[in-house]
Each structure stands twice: as C-alpha cells, then as structure tokens.
C-alpha cells in the first residue's frame, strides 16, 4: 500500500479495522539501521544540493573566474571509483561468507579511501602553491568548501569502516550483523562516489 492510499483510509470503519489489526508495526521491510542510513543520505544530499545551487547561482555573475583543475583530481576520482567497486565486491564476498576475501576487501577499500584523501590534500597544496587561496575569489572558496566537506564525509565513513574492520579482525561479529555493516558501508561509499562525481562535474564544466 502506498503512503497516499494509506493516509486516505478511514481508520474508524469496521472494514479498515480488520485490515489495520494485521499491521505488523513497521512501514518498510528494512533493518532499522539501514533506514536510518538512508534518511541520513537524504539529508546529506540536501546539503550538497544546496551547495551546488549556491555555486551555480554565483557562477552567473560576470566576475566569475574559474579555477584550474589539476590532473591529479582525475586520478583521485579513479581511486574513489575503484574503492567503491571493491566495496561492492566485498559485499558479495560477505554474502557468500568468505571471510578471507572480506578482510582483504576491507583493507583495500580503506587504503584506497585514505589514498583519495591524501590525494585531495595534495591537490589543495598544488593550488595553494599556484596562489589560488580560498579568499582569492568565490570560485576558489567554493572549491575548497566542497572538496573539504566531501572529504569530511568520507572521514566519517572511515570511522564506520574502522569499526567494522576491527570487529572482523577480532572475529567478534555474527554473520548477519557483519553483512548489514558491510552493506551499509558499501551504500555509503557508492553514495559518496555519486556526490563526488556530481560535484566534480560541476567544477569541471565551469
């Protein structure tokens, strides 16, 4: 039943009472944590969308000066892409219960994510060396703001990744819980990849 037909029902009628009495108590057949994550992703999407709107609104002014995009950004994008793909692979390994592969996958993901973050820092360094400080003009400000916030979100993801990895190392986690953790991390990684691609595209075309 869709949300709209549900709120169109008359809960006081006998027919509806029979239907409603069968209700199991949850709206979605999702684990709670997964739903929580999805709601969070909606909030984060909102956040980056607003930034993108502010950015494109500002772009229309005449005095807009674009920033050069260092080639390293392409490499970083590649790292993030691979990291995300490896996470998908880890997820299916978890589903099959092959713990060795899971450990390897998690290590790889972490290493790639850290490499991405370091890469981003080097990009900042390069731009700063060229004299493109955040205060120079709004385009620069936006670049540092957006990349910085994206990096912070990835750092947050790495905390969750760290918890999962530690538990796997100690072997103190049930298969079901492990799968949920890995699935959630993988979803988050894919999400951050999409956000990055959108933001990168926005920075590229301007």
């Amino acid at each position: 039943m869709s949300f709209f037909s549900e709120i169109a029902s008359k809960p006081w009628t006998d027919e509806q009472i029979k239907v409603d009495d069968q209700f199991k108590g949850h709206t979605f057949t999702l684990p709670k944590a997964m739903l929580g994550l999805r709601v969070l992703l909606v909030v984060v999407t909102m956040f980056f969308t607003l930034l993108a709107i502010a950015y494109s609104g500002r772009m229309t002014f005449e005095d807009w000066q674009s920033l050069p995009e260092p080639g390293l950004l392409w490499f970083n994008t590649g790292l993030l892409l691979v990291s995300s793909v490896v996470f998908r692979w880890t997820k299916s390994a978890t589903q099959q219960g092959r713990n060795g592969k899971v450990k390897l996958g998690l290590f790889l993901v972490g290493a790639l994510a850290f490499a991405f973050l370091i890469g981003q820092l080097i990009v900042w360094q390069q731009l700063a060396d060229l004299g493109h400080f955040a205060s120079a003009n709004p385009a620069n400000g936006f670049f540092y703001l957006i990349t910085g916030l994206h990096g912070l979100h990835l750092l947050g993801g790495l905390v969750a990744w760290g918890r999962t990895t530690l538990r796997v190392m100690r072997g103190k986690i049930g298969q079901e819980k492990l799968l949920l953790s890995v699935e959630m991390c993988a979803l988050y990684w894919s999400f951050l990849l999409v956000v990055w691609l959108a933001m990168f595209l926005l920075l590229l075309v301007t």
């Binding site: 549900e6 979605f28 609104g57 955040a134």
Partner: protein, 600 residues
C-alpha cells in the same frame, strides 16, 4: 504491507515485532546522566531548553524596559540592546522551541505513543542531547567573550553580521555560528531517531492512520527539520569562512568606515535565500508539533474524536510540503527579483487554506462535545484564539503588496510573537499540565495553574494585540530608541510603556509556573492512573510513571485509532487504543453489533 484475513479470524496473531535489545543502565551515572533512555533524555532536553529559555525571557524584559522607558536605564546601551534582541530571538526559536518540542516532547512521547520500548538508536539519541548541551554552552559563552554576543539580529544577515559596525563581530558571531552548526549536528542525530522509530518501531496494529496527531505533528516537523537545517548549516559554514578565511561567499566589494575591504563578488541575498529556506520551515517545525498536541488536548477534554482526523493528517502533510516553497515571502523588500513576489505571495496564501481547515476542525471538535474545562483545555482554547489572531495577520504579511508598508515594523514583531511565540507556548503549557502526571505521578497545583493561565493568556494578548497598531503607524522594529520623529504620536510611547508593564507581569507569572513544577513534584495531589481518561498508549503502561522499557513484559497491541471517545454502545466514554473490541464493556442493552453499527 498488510494482508486481510477472513472476518472470522478474531485471534490476534503472535507478536511479530522483535523485542529490541534494551540498553540497561548499571550506575547512577548511566541512569541519570549519560542515560540512553529516551524518557530521561527528554527530561534533560526539556530542562536545558527551559533554562536557556529563562535567559531569553530575562533578555526580553531588558529590551522591553528600554523600549517602554527609554533613557531611564543607563546600563542598557544600543550595543546591549541589539545583542539582547539577537540572543532573545535565536534562543527562543531554535534553542527553546525546537529543542523542547522535538528533543523534549518528541523523545518522551514518540516511543510511548507508538508503543515502542525506546528510540531505535539510543546511543545516538544520547549523543544528540550532549551535542545540544554543548551548543547551548557555546552560545552562552558568547556572553563572556570580549565584545559580547553578536548583535546582528537573529537573522544574522551579512555583510553586517561580520563587520565592525555590529556588536559582537569579533567573537560573538563566530560562537553563534559554531553553536548553530553543533545544534544542527545534534538535532540530525535526534531526528534520525524520531523518524526511524515512528516508521519502524510501532506496536502491532499501530498503522500510520491510527497514530495520534501529536505523533503526526512531531513526525512531519522532524522531516521538515531534517530537510531545512542543512540550509542553515551551509549558510553558517559559508559565513564562518567569510569571517575567518576572508572568502567572499556573501561579501561584495564594500567600504567599511572609509576603508576599502578585501572582499569582493559575494552576494548578501544568497545568504537570505539560504537562511529563509531554513527559516520558514522552522516556523512549521515549531507549529506542527503544537498543532498535533493541541488536537489531542481538545479531543480528550471534549470527550469527542477529533473532527476530520484524515483532513488533519492531510493538512499537516500538506503544510509541511508547502513550507518549502514559500520562504521568499520573508524577502519581499530584500531587493531580490520583484517578480518572485507573484509566486511566493500565491504559495503563501495557499497555505492559509489547510491551516484554516485545521482551525475549523478544532472548533468543530467542540461542537456537540462534552467539554471539560481542565487546565490543559484552557490552554488549548487560548491557543486557538491566539493562533487565529496571529494567523490572520500572516495573511497581511504574506500578501506581497500589503507586506511592503508593514515589513520591518512592529506589526511583524506582533505577528510572529502571536503566531509562533504565544500560540505554541500555550500548547507547551497545556502539554506540560497534561503530561506532568505521567512524568511524576502527581498533578500540578490547580490554583497556581489557573493564576498562571489567566495572567499569561490575557497578558500576552494585551502585549501583542495593540502592538500591531504601532506597526500601522510605521514604528520600525529593532530600534534602540525611537528618537525624534514627526509621525509617531506621544500616545504611541504610552502604549510602549503599557506593553512593557504587561510583559513584566506575564514574565513574572512564569515564575509561579516554575515554582509549581517543583512544588507539585513533592506536594501535588497523587494522580490517578490515566487521570484525563485518554485513549493513547502512553497512559496504558504497566507502571505510572512508565519505567525503563516503557511497557511491561509484552508490548501493547493496538486495536483502534486514537480517538474512540464516546463511542455509541460502549459504557465508558473512551476506549483505549490497546483494548480489543471483545473486552469493551457495553452499555446496558447493547451488543457488540451496536457498537459497530453506529460507526459510520
């Protein structure tokens, strides 16, 4: 998600909601301080919100003293005055109302009213409170830094907010922005909890349309907040960059007292769009929980189902959706493209329709009811009056051309205080009188309550109703003193003095209320179980006050909507949500069939 079974099948299916692993406190510290029990977190939230609200109340007295009796108080200068109005506004809107409705009432009522043992992420819930507390402390600390708190007005408009003509531009503004960002992080943690708990942890049989309107109001308000607060976060962060790193997101090329500044190319109006994209939904973040709670108070005390429950739900959802397409009605005179005025005036006035329907349904709930004028009911009635009054002045300000002469005058101040100050606070008081017995097992003292109600209600009306007329004259808001003008008559100054006296009286009446809260905790009359004879689950717990885990061994099973009052054929005038039809005691000569037959 539901499947019907044959009508003969009266047997209740076994519990299918898995029991959650409850967190269990082991020491005083984890029971009362770092508690993960939503009920304790709710009380922590409420106490902090009310405490910081008291600070804002005192600030309002100080600013009223200055307005009512200018030149009489040497200790208030212009900088102080602007700092008072800024902190008063921000604290009341964000740190008191939002935190109390969602962090306070939300935490306490959601698990109890939907039939859950606790919030779904108790640890994150606890973190939410502690981050909120930190946000409050950061905010308070701005009173003690050099230059004091920011005096930019609660709207914090750049460029002035971070330039030297404004008080508190060195540290005050930075602390304010930091505090807001902390608040938003903390709120998001809490908000995830409220949404997921309502969606995924209800009792068996508790469909969305069986939820009381209180939960609907809190639910939609939380969704709004989750969508709207990111805009404030982005705006705060960008302004923080402008202040500290000297970026130019909101800062155009400017002269500051003869000196050219290094800024250039930013747009102050961009900030206003971001701010009000948060700011307008914020009004509904405060109003929707109030709408929900007042519906339940009216229904319980009129012993009648809320009139037009479905319409009430649709109105809450509809208002919530529309709340995101009206923000620029705060910006009619901001210098944005004037053609936006057509769109935003139209959307704004459309919101009046679902809102008016809610009002009609509240008063129609009284029609042919069995009205008990209890204290919560008095506050609910006062809410309707003040809300209608504040709502219709919103029709003035929403209609773009009418807004032009009235914007930035005292009319605006009177309007938003009536509609999102007085009206929701009436509901907060009503709700506290209503649920205090559930929290403490005792009733609040009635005599003190009556005194508190009449002084607050009549006093608040006496403050804000005449204030509209100052706005008609053209008295601008946010003025330290009116000074010499050719158009403000002396009688307007007398009116200002009267308003100040009324404000002080109403303010002191709140001390009686606070005293009542503490006094009745020990000395109040011991409450009966379910003293208001309500149908909702929070009154049907095994213990009152509810203990850790809320319900006894088994979670409740819900058999009906939240408004089965005065059902024809039943002996009692209310049937709790968790009472099966076979257990309902019938009136003389009635059968179960009669009970059903008259239900249309």
């Amino acid at each position: 998600m539901t499947e019907t079974t044959s009508p003969e099948d009266d047997i209740v299916p076994p519990q299918e909601v898995p029991e959650m692993d409850l967190y269990h406190p082991h020491s005083f510290l984890t029971r009362w301080i770092f508690s993960q029990d939503a009920k304790v977190i709710a009380i922590q939230y409420s106490l902090v919100a009310i405490s910081i609200g008291m600070v804002a109340l005192v600030l309002s007295w100080l600013m009223r003293l200055q307005l009512g009796f200018p030149d009489s108080f040497d200790f208030i200068d212009a900088a102080d005055y602007y700092q008072f109005i800024t902190m008063h506004g921000m604290i009341m809107v964000v740190y008191l109302l939002t935190a109390l409705f969602l962090g306070g009432f939300g935490n306490y009522l959601i698990p109890l009213m939907v039939g859950a043992r606790d919030m779904v992420f108790p640890y994150i819930n606890m973190l939410s409170f502690w981050i909120y507390l930190l946000a409050v402390l950061v905010l308070v600390s701005s009173f003690f830094v050099p230059g004091g708190p920011t005096g930019a007005g609660w709207t914090l408009y750049p460029p002035q907010a971070i330039l030297s003509g404004t008080p508190g531009q060195e540290f005050g503004i930075i602390l304010m922005l930091a505090s807001l960002m902390l608040f938003i992080v903390g709120f998001t943690m809490g908000g995830l909890n409220y949404v997921v708990t309502i969606l995924q942890a209800r009792a068996r049989g508790m469909t969305l349309m069986r939820m009381p309107l209180t939960i609907w109001g809190i639910f939609i308000a939380t969704v709004l907040a989750l969508f709207a607060f990111p805009a404030l976060f982005v705006a705060s962060l960008m302004m923080m960059f402008d202040k500290i790193l000297e970026t130019s997101f909101f800062m155009p090329a400017m002269i500051e007292f003869g000196e050219k500044m290094s800024y250039g190319g930013g747009s102050p109006i961009l900030f206003q769009h971001l701010f009000w994209f948060f700011g307008h939904p914020e009004v509904y973040i405060v109003a929707l929980p109030a709408f929900g709670i007042v519906s339940d108070l009216l229904s319980v005390n009129a012993r009648k189902n809320i009139f037009g429950y479905r319409m009430m739900v649709w109105a809450i959802v509809g208002i919530g959706a529309l709340a995101f397409v009206v923000w620029a009605h705060h910006m009619y005179v901001s210098g944005m493209n004037p053609y936006f005025g057509f769109f935003f005036a139209t959307t704004t006035l459309i919101i009046a329709v679902p809102t008016a329907l809610k009002v009609y349904n509240w008063v129609l709930t009284l029609w042919r009811g069995n009205i008990h004028l209890t204290l919560p009911m008095l506050f609910a009635l006062a809410f309707i009056l003040t809300f209608v009054n504040g709502g219709i002045t919103g029709l003035f300000l929403g209609n773009v051309i009418v807004d032009i002469p009235l914007s930035d005058t005292m009319f605006v101040v009177a309007h938003f205080h009536m509609v999102m100050g007085v009206a929701p606070i009436m509901v907060i008081f009503g709700a506290i009188y209503h649920w205090y017995p559930l929290l403490t097992g005792r009733m609040l003292h009635n005599g003190m309550g009556q005194f508190h109600f009449w002084v607050t209600f009549l006093g608040a009306y006496a403050i804000y109703f005449p204030m509209h007329y100052l706005g008609f004259i053209g008295v601008p808001r946010r003025y330290f003193e009116l000074g010499e003008t050719t158009f403000i008559p002396d009688s307007a100054h007398d009116l200002n003095a009267f308003i100040t006296v009324a404000a002080l009286v109403v303010g002191f009446a709140q001390l009686v209320f606070l005293f009542n809260l503490f006094w009745s905790r020990r000395n109040g009359i011991v409450a009966e179980r379910n003293p208001w004879k309500a149908t909702t689950l929070e009154w049907q717990t095994e213990h009152m006050p509810p203990t850790h885990g809320n319900f006894g061994k088994d979670l409740p099973i819900v058999y009906r909507w939240a408004y089965d009052f005065s059902v024809p054929g039943a002996e009692s005038d209310f049937i709790p949500q968790n009472m099966a039809t076979k257990d309902v005691k019938l009136a003389e000569g009635m059968t179960v069939a009669d009970l059903k037959a008259e239900k249309t």
